[in-house]
Amino acid sequence: MPATDVDFEREFEELVRDLRALPTAAPTSVREHVRALGEPARPRTLHDLLLTFSSRRSLLVLAPVCVLALVSAAVIHGVVNSGGDSRQTAVAVHKADAQVQLGAPGGEGTATTPWRAVTGAPVAPSLPTPASGRYQDYEASLTVRVKNVDALHDRTAEATRLARTYGGYVASVDESTSGGSGRSDLVLRIPVNRVEDAYFRLAQLGTVTEQHLSIRDLDQVVGTQRRRIVQLKVQIARIGETLKSSSLPADVRLRLELQRDAAKQELAQVTGSNKATLREASLSRISLTLTSQQAAAATKGGMSRIERAARDAGSFLAGAGAVLLFVLIVLSPLIVLAMAWILGTRAYRRREERRLLSAA
């Protein structure tokens, strides 16, 4: 049984007293030698203070400091990255620019004006008014998120009804559901003069997460077609007048008849193209996508700023953890070797001490 502080004093009382009575004071020569040393002259430096910290104490201080620094960095990263509504501002500016372009007179050729492309974030539905008096190919796409699959079905039916209400029709419908999510793709043709109202009604079917508009000016195309039609009609009339004459040689008559037939054929073709262009300009094309996917709600834009900050901070910490894990894995052989070396050295030193003390 090991002796405690009190035990050995009591158990070996006489022996302890004798041991303490032994003449063990340092001789005068040693005392004078030590006194002669005096006081260390150099004051303590920071290096000296650092040396007083043991590795265990340093670890106890450094580990929480590192964790705190990492968490702080993650929070700062999250807050900075979550940002404000800068994207919304950028979109608004983009929209304003687009409206200025659309309002510009005499759009030449077939210029395409992409108006807006936003993904994920709920956006306020808005649409530039079609330019009156001009022929334009007006295409819009709209992605709307609805509550669930039941709502998806109802909204699809409502969109179809809306298209008819505004004098248009449904060019195609593609509705599919899978589990708790679903998607419905519709192509609606709406008269251009009523597209604005229809667009806003369609946007009210749910939460708009994406919208895009493309306007192609068709004025020049229609003008070219019309001029060609007039030219062809004039040509056909002239050939007809010439063919009325009875003095024409047979070969000339045949050539003119062939020219008239070719002109009539081309006239029919250009007239058909012109009708198609005018039809295109009179009906807008709205591609409507209704979705009930929950994943859409989980996109960055659908979160509050605090949620985004928390998610970014978490991502940062996860990244830092992955890096630390990687470093740990890479360095693990060295760490194991270092630990083995430290433990081995310590064991060797203790054995050496025991041996020296037993030999002394």
Binding site: P2, L19, A26, S358, A359, A360
Partner: protein, 176 residues
């Protein structure tokens, strides 16, 4: 322990009262000498090592941190390292010069002393003598003594108990 003069370190946030080296040396000299005397079992060697210990302590005094232990324990740690270095060099010397016998210190009159207790102490191993010195003479508590020796508190208590029993038996035999 006697009261010692103290100074305060100049580093803000790390302010701690440190005794002066000369004050510590004055108050702890006998304790260190006692320890080394028991550890080496030789007065002459103990005196030399005591001087050497304080010279070392003088050189590294700036590293002493009173919050981590008493000056006595710190000095005993230095003394022990000094003594082990001495044993190591002695062993090398003996190996080189085989003319010198291993028991050379015992032939000197100044080992521990002529009395029964001193003789009995001489028969203990150095490890046993040093634990007796630390715990009985220097009155260090169990954990501090264990830290100086680099062993666990339990091992320290066991070694002390065994040393004192052996010493008592030897004294009883000597009286009988």
């Amino acid at each position: 322990m006697k009261a010692v003069n103290a100074v305060t370190t100049s580093w803000p946030g790390l302010r701690v009262d440190r005794p002066t080296f000369s004050a510590v040396a004055e108050s702890e000299l006998d304790a260190v000498h006692r320890y080394l005397l028991f550890l080496t079992g030789n007065r002459t060697v103990a005196e030399d090592l005591t001087g050497e210990t304080f010279e070392k302590a003088f050189r590294i005094w700036r590293r002493f941190d009173p919050r981590r232990g008493s000056p006595r324990a710190w000095l005993c740690g230095i003394a022990r390292t000094t003594a082990l270095d001495h044993f190591r060099s002695e062993e090398r010397r003996r190996r080189r010069e085989e003319r010198y016998t291993r028991d050379l210190p015992d032939t000197e009159e100044s080992a521990l002393g002529p009395g029964e207790l001193e003789t009995a102490l001489g028969r203990l191993s150095a490890a046993e003598r040093e634990v007796v010195a630390l715990r009985v003479l220097l009155e260090l508590d169990g954990p501090t003594a264990a830290r100086v020796l680099g062993i666990s508190t339990t091992a320290c208590s066991t070694r002390l108990s065994r040393a004192l029993k052996r010493l008592e038996e030897m004294m009883r035999d000597a009286r009988n």
